[in-house]
């Protein structure tokens, strides 16, 4: 069962993403900011990381950069969850090593369809 790390400071978004993933048969681990996300990531292996960009303590871009430094996350897909559809944010994400992005708002179908592009 693919295991996905969900990082978002908003409880409702995190719950919703996690719930959607679980109902589709994925296993999820949650974190409420980049720092916690990094700690959780270091404690295990994941098939995918979905992270918000704007978060307190450590933002998603930094999290992504930190994750890419870890050998076990070198090839792991990392999706940035963002409402900022501007090219700038996407480029910053890519530069930090993100695989792709998921533009909020999204519905569960969109979320699962996008995940299918990076997790088999």
């Amino acid at each position: 069962m693919p295991k996905i790390l969900v990082v978002d400071d908003s409880n409702s978004i995190r719950d919703m993403v996690s719930f959607t993933l679980k109902s589709a048969g994925y296993e999820t681990v949650e974190a409420k900011d980049g720092k916690e996300g990094l700690t959780r990531a270091q404690a295990g292996t994941f098939d995918l990381v979905i992270s918000d960009v704007n978060m307190p303590i450590m933002d998603g871009i930094t999290l992504c950069q930190e994750l890419r430094k870890l050998p076990s996350f070198k090839f792991t897909p990392i999706l940035m969850l963002t409402t900022e559809s501007s090219g700038d944010m996407k480029m910053r994400g890519k530069a930090a090593g993100a695989t792709g992005w998921l533009v909020k708002p999204f519905n569960p179908e969109k979320l699962l369809a996008t995940i299918k592009r990076v997790v088999r």
């Binding site: 908003s10 409702s12 090839f75 990392i78 409402t83 997790v119």
Partner: protein
């Protein structure tokens, strides 16, 4: 698949309200704040927008998007932080709150106000229109005008070597492409280095893809490669409409060659991939998710929900654990009991008492919230009132961490607002007046909360002009509340402002002074089992002190005995208990008996008479009788009782729900011995006794013969 997300809506709403409060308080503190303040405001708006979009509340998303854009410009330094913008953002926060409240209550909102603010935001952001509409990512829906014939697309995909190191997997890209139509994949292995030179973490292949599709467009194809377009050379060319070539591509052997050896994501490439999905199928698979806005029964937020810190729940679990241990100890003791075990029984029971007490406190703590929840709205209120009245006012909040029962908090909120409005409107003088009196031009209002003897005290203190005793007195005379010439103490005069219909405002302003204020405030506070006191010094300001029980479910009570009955007097109402002395008893007229208590004359209410029960004591002798002096509505009375019993906390059971409302009784409780005791409603009791006295008085004057009918 369809996922019902409506269960997360209450969570989203609660979070949004928190976000809005944070936005509001941070906006008000922007001057003192740093970059992080602005970032926090932005994040809050951002989260609300994201959540609203996810749950399909598009009107919230659309509105919040403008707010977010404005905040983003301020955050980036593109826009100077100006007071006008801050005001606009504050109004926007109100609008967002209104929208979200409408979702919560499934009610309507003031659309004009929203539209007006929306326009103002647009004006503020002018020049930015192209980016204004929220990006709704429905690219799969905006299907290209379908032609009858198939279109053939040739795609040349030459990825950079490091492509897989960002977690992208070409195979999955091709999968996505295959959903658009019939896909033929050809790998180009020409650039494969020798096995010795190859870096297992790099990708050396490139591909030629042929897509036969009815409704693919270049945009749709590019979207598939969206994440990798900067890391590859991508050429997309359209051939003439062609017949669909039904030929499946087998990728197996070609892809295995490119296997990055230790890559997690590309480890399973040897499984064969047969690409023959047709676009129509995917269209059919798509299910429409039920819009959360329409699932009425589920979106309704449970108004009774409460968010509790984990520490509180943990302490509960811990206590329950101890209780279980005590219980098992006691039951073991009871199974084979003899007198030698009495000591252990006693200690076991003591432990049980301790457990119960702690458990009770712990459970009560769950309902407790810091009073900052109620205080948080005041910075904004003061800001707005200051603007409206042109007064410069500083608000100081103290004791914000003082915890209070959630229900009490909800119900005290409005009275507090009224008191603060009053302080601004009637208390604080204008800057000119203050300067003339040698005071700082900036007025000050202090809100303070603290615990005092099992109660919570909330103080609203202003450094204004104080209550004008003469103005209040004259007004009261004019309104017929007191007779001209009555001599009253300062406190009695101040109490007059709580009389129904009283208002000293020279003109009725739209802030306060509608004449329905203070009496309602007092009633609300009393309904919570609390009381309000005024302290005021001319020229120095006034303090309104609100005394509230910590919770509504439990009451600190004094048990008293009257005849064979036990009653409970709320401790908060008791001024003192005393034994009467004959020389201080004053029979005024007929049944009305007054007791001289220092400077006051306190009417004595014999409870046995009021409730018509037999008393132990000699009914006629008031000498050396027990008197419990209680106070409500600024009126002291002495309750005549037979005996004072213990003081204890009692759990309030509603008489309304279990029986019916009874005058003079506010509820009931069950005592340790299993008997039921009534809790006295002191304000009600006083009113009842006064009515009876007046009734007697009037019936005496008008028809002396009816005297016998009275109690």
């Amino acid at each position: 698949m369809s996922v019902d997300l409506s269960q997360f809506i209450p969570n989203f709403l609660a979070e949004s309200f928190e976000g809005l409060e944070l936005m509001e308080s941070s906006l008000l503190n922007l001057e003192q704040g740093d970059d992080e303040t602005m970032n926090a405001i932005f994040r809050a708006a951002h989260s609300i927008k994201g959540g609203a979009g996810t749950f399909g509340f598009d009107h919230v998303t659309e509105f919040t998007h403008l707010v977010e854009t404005l905040l983003d410009e301020m955050r980036n330094g593109q826009r100077a932080i100006k007071q006008d913008d801050v005001e606009l953002l504050l109004v926007s926060v109100d609008c967002m709150r209104m929208l979200i409240e409408a979702i919560r209550d499934e009610g309507d909102y003031d659309k004009d106000k929203i539209d007006e603010t929306y326009q103002l935001l647009l004006v503020a952001l002018k020049g930015k229109e192209p980016d204004l509409l929220p990006t709704t990512n429905n690219s799969t829906d905006k299907s290209v005008t379908s032609t009858d014939g198939m279109t053939e697309w040739n795609i040349s995909f030459i990825p950079e070597h490091h492509l897989v190191q960002t977690g992208n997997d070409p195979l999955l890209l091709f999968n996505a492409l295959a959903e658009l139509g019939e896909l033929k994949v050809e790998a180009n292995c020409n650039n494969l280095p020798s096995i010795l030179d190859a870096d297992p973490q790099e990708l050396y292949l490139s591909w030629n893809l042929t897509l036969h599709s009815k409704n693919a467009s270049e945009a749709l194809i590019r979207e598939v490669f969206e994440w990798v377009e900067d890391e590859c050379e991508l050429t997309i060319t359209q051939n003439k409409p062609a017949e669909c070539d039904v030929e499946s591509a087998n990728l197996e052997e070609k892809l295995t060659a490119s296997q990055p050896a230790d890559s997690n994501d590309t480890a399973n490439l040897d499984e064969s991939l047969t690409v023959e999905k047709v676009a129509e199928n995917t269209q059919q698979e798509k299910q429409v998710i039920k819009a959360p806005t329409k699932s009425t029964s589920k979106t309704k937020v449970d108004a009774g929900s409460i968010r509790v810190g984990v520490d509180k729940v943990d302490s509960l679990i811990n206590l329950v654990g101890e209780l279980v241990i005590t219980q098992s100890m006691l039951s073991e003791l009871g199974s084979d009991f003899d007198l030698s075990k009495v000591e252990r029984l006693t200690s076991g029971l003591e432990q049980l008492l301790q457990n119960t007490k702690e458990l009770q406190e712990s459970v009560m703590r769950i309902r407790m919230l810091p009073i900052s929840f109620a205080f948080n709205r005041f910075p904004r209120l003061i800001h707005d009132l200051g603007k409206k009245t042109g007064k410069d006012i500083e608000l100081v909040l103290k004791g914000e961490q003082t915890e209070l029962d959630k229900t009490v908090m909800e119900q005290i909120s409005d009275p507090l607002v009224h008191l603060v409005r009053n302080a601004v409107d009637h208390g604080i003088e204008t800057a000119e007046v203050r300067a003339a009196n040698g005071k700082a031009t900036k007025g000050k209002i202090v809100l303070d909360a603290y615990h005092q003897g099992g109660n919570i005290v909330i103080e609203i203190k202003d450094d204004g002009g104080g209550i004008n005793r003469d103005a209040v007195y004259n007004k009261a005379v004019e309104k017929g509340i007191v007779d001209a010439g009555t001599s009253l103490t300062d406190n009695q005069v101040f109490e007059l402002i709580f009389e129904p219909g009283f208002s000293t405002a020279q003109e009725i302003s739209d802030i306060s002074g509608r004449g329905v204020g203070m009496d309602v405030v007092k009633k609300n506070i009393q309904a919570l089992g609390g009381r309000i006191q005024i302290d005021s010094t001319p020229g120095e300001g006034s303090t309104f002190k609100v005394n509230l029980p910590l919770t509504l479910a439990i009451l600190d009570g004094q048990l008293v005995k009257v005849g064979s009955e036990t009653y409970i007097v709320p401790l908060i109402t008791i001024v003192e208990s005393l034994q009467t002395k004959a020389e201080l008893i004053n029979r005024v007229s007929g049944d009305m008996v007054l007791y001289r208590l220092r400077e006051d004359n306190v009417p004595i209410i014999p409870i046995y008479k009021l409730f018509g029960i037999a008393s132990d004591a000699d009914a006629d002798s008031l000498e050396e009788a027990l008197l419990v002096v209680v106070e409500a509505d600024g009126q002291k009375v002495g309750l005549l009782v037979d005996d004072l019993l213990a003081q204890q906390q009692v759990v309030i059971k509603s008489l309304d729900e279990n029986y019916q409302q009874v005058e003079g009784i506010s509820g009931a409780t069950i005592l340790g011995d299993g008997s039921v005791a009534m809790i006295l409603d002191i304000p009600g009791l006083i009113e009842l006794a006064m009515q009876n006295a007046n009734h007697r008085l009037s019936s005496k004057t008008h028809s002396p013969s009816a005297e016998g009918a009275m109690i």
